[in-house]
């Protein structure tokens, strides 16, 4: 029963895409591609929900995919609670995005294509999720990248979109290469890429000797590189904000809820091979990402970019959780974030859609507006692309009465992401992360984790600040652009309904419906014996984590310890079972969230302070934030330029040196044997079919001179030739 269900989940969206492609080859398109794709997604959603209780057999299917003599690579499904949750998240968000898009994309010239691409994306993502081996994950992984490329570049007539999709693909590809190298390392060691079961990597990893820990750490970090790319972690995060060039539903589906979560999912899946040192690297990358992206988000004016940076920041939270060993917390935040971030994006889509209708005939004025606004912020300029007027928060304001549903649902999501206590799911998952990190810090007495805790706490506060900044600027206050405001309207029901459903899912109460207690509890447990504590703990006296030498089983054992700790909304479990760490974390998180909201209120609602004055006071810092820490400048100015320069150099080298040598040799040879080669050249070069006659003519003209007609001369030549030939043969 399980295998057919999974097959349906995979095949339904794939079929929707295939139908599109086949019709496309015949220069037609399927009459109702939107309905077809949406129906396919709903079918997949139904099957996923059915699988919720079907995780008893984790390996329902394995097929031999490649057999190379002694080595066999197999493909198969793996189904545990994490898989099911991911399946549901993906299908649910995807279904809602499909429905939303029916309204949002209405009237687009490439309307059917959009749905076909969404279907292909869903297929890829689902394939990634259910694969039981690294190769399958990698395949899904890259396909997801492709779909992302296609969807970001959906409006490819815009140069900014064309640039953005290329950037996204290439940046993630850099990470993927790292992942690929990691796969090669694992394959070299274990001769398999299967993860589970008796012959899988997770089992084999147990038999490694202590001397191979460093090697395994390297492999783990390399695999993590893939996640860095896909989940937009520093330093490969720059593609994600640019990816907002795609249609907003795409941003919601791919760049907030599912694809970027694939990186987190991968790290969670690979948990059993992470060593303490690779975990720490992951934690640091996550922490740095969280704070860097949050600080950048503060100063954005484009509503989608704010959300994009917030996504990057939240993904950093998840990575940090996994790196700190809070396996469950990471995955939990992944699911809650998927819903509220999808909601935020769709909400912003709704806002943009409201403005978009009249965007066309007010283009010029907005261009003027933009210029004015830019003058106000003359010390800063958005790099790369201008902010489209319908996405610029400085054009918004006071929309809450115009778009009540959108406002209400977005507010819920904002409260959730900001970590407003108790009634919103985001609070619980974020708290689980903070608690997990603090607990690890206290438990190991590790300086690293204390630092990380501080960083992430700060990031949480900043998150609350910029999210409320967004709400205040968009929905409160007076309309800044009256004309646009007048045209705005609430979105049609196909767009509002998905918002309402997502808003419901952002409340823990609804989550509980399917997110059962203790459903996700621990990572895959391959080991038969638990490592002893002595092996596990770092040297607590020095406070140094002594990474290279301690057993790598730490992270998973830690996670196992936290078993059942952060399951969903059970706040009581969260602090009761785990001592002081979680209580402290919770209190601190409430405080910082409150502070963030308060500051935001003061700045953007009450207008006690103006952002401009602060910006002038902390000018260097502000500039740094505004320019996104100059990552793009560095990449464009150094890496890309270097690559292009190198390629030009190689090409020039090829043309002038290598080819030059070849041609030079030819020239010299020609000069030496000028007469002979000249004759040969003429014969060979001219010896082309349509000019054969000509050649024979001209050659004949030359050769004729030999043909004196004097018989004796012929004889001389013939005999001389014979003598010569015989002499040559005698001599040789």
């Amino acid at each position: 029963m399980v295998v057919p269900l999974i097959s349906i989940i995979l095949l339904a969206p794939l079929a929707a895409f295939t139908i599109f492609a086949l019709f496309g080859l015949a220069k037609r398109s399927f009459p109702r591609q939107d309905i077809l794709s949406t129906a396919a997604m709903l079918v997949a959603l139904g099957c996923s929900l059915y699988l919720l209780n079907e995780t008893s057999d984790p390996k329902p299917l394995t097929v031999e995919w490649l057999s190379l003599g002694s080595i066999t690579l197999s493909m198969g499904f793996y189904l545990d609670s994490v898989t099911v949750i991911m399946l549901i998240v993906v299908t649910l968000v995807s279904s809602l995005v499909h429905i939303f898009s029916i309204g949002y994309m209405h009237g687009d010239p490439r309307y059917p294509r959009f749905f076909a691409f969404l279907s292909l994306f869903s297929f890829s993502m689902l394939f990634l999720v259910v694969s039981d081996n690294l190769l399958g994950i990698y395949i899904g992984w890259e396909l997801v990248g492709l779909c992302s490329y296609l969807l970001i570049g959906f409006w490819f007539e815009k140069d900014s979109a064309a640039n953005a999709c290329k950037k996204a693909f290439l940046t993630t590809r850099v990470g993927d290469v790292g992942m690929f190298i990691g796969m090669m390392m694992l394959f070299k060691q274990f001769d398999t890429l299967s993860l589970y079961g008796t012959d899988g990597i997770f089992e084999a990893v147990r038999t490694l000797e202590a001397g191979q820990i460093a090697w395994l750490s390297a492999a783990g970090i390399l695999i993590f590189c893939g996640a860095v790319g896909k989940s937009a972690q520093v330093p490969l995060h720059t593609w994600l904000p640019d990816a907002m060039e795609g249609p907003t539903p795409v941003s919601a589906l791919i760049h907030a809820a599912t694809m970027v979560a694939a990186g987190v999912y991968l790290v969670a899946r690979m948990f059993p091979i992470l060593t303490p040192s690779s975990s720490l690297v992951i934690a640091y990358v996550g922490g740095i990402t969280a704070i860097v992206a949050a600080t950048i988000a503060i100063v954005r004016f484009d509503i989608k970019r704010v959300l994009a940076y917030s996504t990057v920041s939240q993904l950093g939270f998840m990575m940090l959780a996994l790196g700190a060993g809070s396996y469950v917390a990471g995955l939990f935040h992944l699911t809650t974030h998927a819903f509220f971030k999808a909601l935020l994006f769709l909400g912003s889509g709704s806002v943009i859609h409201a403005f978009h209708a009249m965007h066309a005939h007010h283009d010029e004025e907005h261009a003027d507006d933009n210029e004015d606004e830019h003058d106000n912020h003359s010390l800063v300029h958005e790099h790369g692309s201008e902010i489209p007027p319908d996405q610029d928060m400085r054009n918004m304001g006071g929309l809450r009465r115009k778009m009540p549903f959108t406002f209400f649902t977005m507010l819920i999501a904002t409260l959730s992401i900001s970590g407003v206590p108790f009634v919103f799911s985001g609070f619980w998952s974020k708290d689980a992360i903070l608690g997990g990190v603090l607990e690890r810090a206290m438990g190991w007495n590790s300086v690293h984790h204390y630092i990380l805790f501080g960083v992430v706490l700060l990031a949480a506060g900043i998150t609350a600040f910029y999210m409320f900044r967004l709400i205040f600027m968009t929905f409160f206050g007076e309309p800044r652009n009256q004309e646009m405001h007048d045209m705005a309207h609430e979105s049609p029901w196909v767009m509002v309904v998905p918002l309402l459903i997502l808003a419901a899912l952002s409340l823990p109460v609804v989550n509980k419906w399917w997110f059962k207690e203790g459903y996700i509890n621990k990572p895959y447990q391959a080991h038969v014996h638990e490592p002893t504590h002595a092996q596990l703990r770092p040297d607590s006296k020095t406070g140094d984590t002594n990474f290279g030498f301690s057993n790598f089983g730490i992270s998973e054992a830690e996670a196992a310890e936290e078993e059942g700790g952060h399951d969903t909304e059970h706040a009581d479990d969260a602090h009761h079972g785990h001592g002081p760490a979680h209580t402290i974390a919770m209190v601190l998180s409430i405080i910082v969230a409150g502070l963030g909201i308060l500051l935001s209120w003061l700045f953007y609602h009450k207008r006690r302070f103006t952002a401009e004055s602060v910006a002038t006071t902390f000018r260097p810092v502000y500039t740094l934030f505004w320019n996104k820490y100059y990552f793009d400048e560095f990449y464009n100015g150094v890496l890309v330029a270097l690559t292009v320069w190198k390629s030009r150099l190689f090409a020039k080298f090829d043309l002038s040196i290598i080819d030059g040598i070849v041609n030079g040799v030819a020239t010299i040879t020609r000069a030496i044997f000028a007469a002979f080669i000249g004759f040969f050249d003429n014969r060979v070069i001219d010896g082309i079919v349509n000019r054969v006659a000509k050649v024979i003519w001209s050659v004949g003209g030359r050769v004729r001179r030999i043909q004196t007609g004097a018989i004796q001369t012929y004889l001389f030549v013939v005999l001389g030739g014979i003598v010569l030939i015989i002499l040559i043969f005698r001599v040789l």
Partner: protein, 110 residues
């Protein structure tokens, strides 16, 4: 008298014939050179047939000893035919060009 004796004589004849053909400026002298060459060949045939046993000897027959002679007879016949045609050509050329010096008769076009 071994085979070599004959072969040496024949090769000298051959070379002299060649020399004549190469250097003489008179068509008839050239013809004589050719006759020398043909004679040297005939001598070779006869000598070889006298000395060399064929690879595939039919048992009980030794008429192969005459094979070379018969070839030589054919050679003489050919020489006669050749001489006749050659002289006829020489006469025709002489009529046409008024000369039988080969280096003067070098027009290829008919």
């Amino acid at each position: 008298m071994s085979l070599q004796h004959y072969l040496v004589i024949s090769s000298i004849l051959f070379t002299l014939g060649i020399f004549a053909v190469l250097t003489r400026k008179n068509a008839i002298s050239i013809l004589m050179g050719i006759e020398l060459i043909l004679n040297s060949c005939n001598l070779n045939f006869v000598a070889f047939s006298r000395f060399v046993e064929p690879a595939k000897n039919i048992v009980g027959r030794d008429d192969y000893l005459l094979d070379g002679q018969i070839i030589a007879i054919f050679g003489i016949v050919l020489a006669a035919a050749e001489a006749a045609v050659f002289l006829a050509i020489i006469l025709a050329i002489y009529r046409e060009f008024g000369s039988i010096r080969p280096d003067e008769v070098d027009t290829l076009k008919g």
